[in-house]
Amino acid sequence: MSSPAGGPAETRWTARATELCGAALSGDRRSLAKLLTAVENRTPVAEAALRRLYPLSGRAHLVGITGPPGAGKSTLVAALVGELRSAGRTVAVVAVDPSSPITGGAILGDRVRMQAYAGDRDVFIRSMAARGHAGGLASTTGAACSVLDAVGFEIVMIETVGTGQSEVEVAAAADTTVVLEAPEMGDEVQAIKAGLLEVADLVVVNKGDRPGAQRTASQLRAMLAGRRGQPGPAVLITTAATGAGVPELLAAIDARRAQGALDDDGATRLARAEAEVRGALADRIGRSLEDAAMAVASEAAVRAVAAHEVDPYTAADELLAGLIGSGRKDSK
């Protein structure tokens, strides 16, 4: 990463990216898996690969599946995969599980419910550890979805970590956000709290064979009416373990495409593009500050702020001016 742009290392990364992209695009699943690893590890190969693949992505329907731990997200994803496969459609799944804040380790257990598709080349399941990123996803989940989208999967499902009330990042990463609830998880006040339920395009009460499922669904319908007279999200009932309600859910997901929710200039996609550009920009600025020239200025600024000689805003303004200046010099 410290080699100068255009140096031999950069050539090597680009060559490796070209090799992996070419193979993945022609259907080699091992190369696809290697690309996803590069993306997760944020290697220079990943950036070179994403430059190449991004123009090819944007065709898949990105479907986020989120909800509290144990609501049945993995089981529902598996049921949706089954439904898609019986219709001959291709599907990829990115399943995120939390990383230990203590050791960085993780148990990635979402495949337990999804193992029926071994040997089916039109299903690709990948587990990701969140690696300290809050918000229900890993910081690289969006980029991983772009790769899976580019190689041609029709639907890419994003299963979040088991969420609380405010892990809403999936709504920006997905075209369609499905929020799962289990029966009897809370009263009507839970349903009107701000957060997760607000970003739902579809709400699903899973474990529909449990007592209280209908009542929970009615409460959610009553409380989730949209802002300013707009209709709220549809509330469906599924029993993922038996497959009941799953075809109806898939139909509702597909209907979002027909409604234009996936248009490139649609609000969701613009918001995602904005998040991607800002993320890349923040990343670039962060890395620039680590460059040899800036590191000295950066450290001096931090020390001055720690000594209360300079306020953080002035320090940031000066560093930013320095970055823009050095950027001009590089590009002449």
Partner: protein, 134 residues
């Protein structure tokens, strides 16, 4: 890049229903800083190979207590090689008689861990023998 966690698949191929050991190991490896993909009971060799491929794991750990290791383990090694995954470290654990170990090693297994092995021993072995990072 070199400090990213090592990714391990812990799989239980075959028909025995005893997964306590596999779960304890998965949990222990989590505490040692590994990213552990756990796939549950009754996996076919094809499921193990598919999971290893899609997850791009560095290590496959197979737990077998049923006595079927001489059938299942060589088959899994064969499938992994066919998928181009010969750089993935394959290890086995559970109830495996010493007499079978040379044949398993010949099939491609790098180490066999018997009862009494500590988590720390497994973690140390994994760190020392996992393929180098790309």
């Amino acid at each position: 890049m070199t400090d990213r966690p090592i990714k391990v698949l812990i799989a239980k191929p075959g028909l025995d229903g005893h997964d306590r050991g596999a779960k304890v190991l998965a949990r222990g490896l989590r505490d040692e800083g590994f990213e552990v993909v756990y796939t549950g009971l009754r996996q076919t060799p094809e499921m193990v190979a598919t999971a290893a491929l899609q997850e791009d794991v560095d290590i496959v750990g197979l737990s077998i207590l049923s006595g079927a290791h001489m059938t299942l383990v060589p088959r899994i090694c064969q499938l992994l090689k066919a998928e181009g995954l010969s750089d993935v470290l394959v290890t086995a654990g559970g109830i495996i008689p010493d007499d079978d170990v040379p044949a398993l090693k010949a099939a491609g297994v790098s180490a066999v861990f018997g009862p009494g092995t500590t988590i720390a021993e497994v973690a140390t072995y994994f760190r020392a023998n996992a393929r180098p990072r790309e």
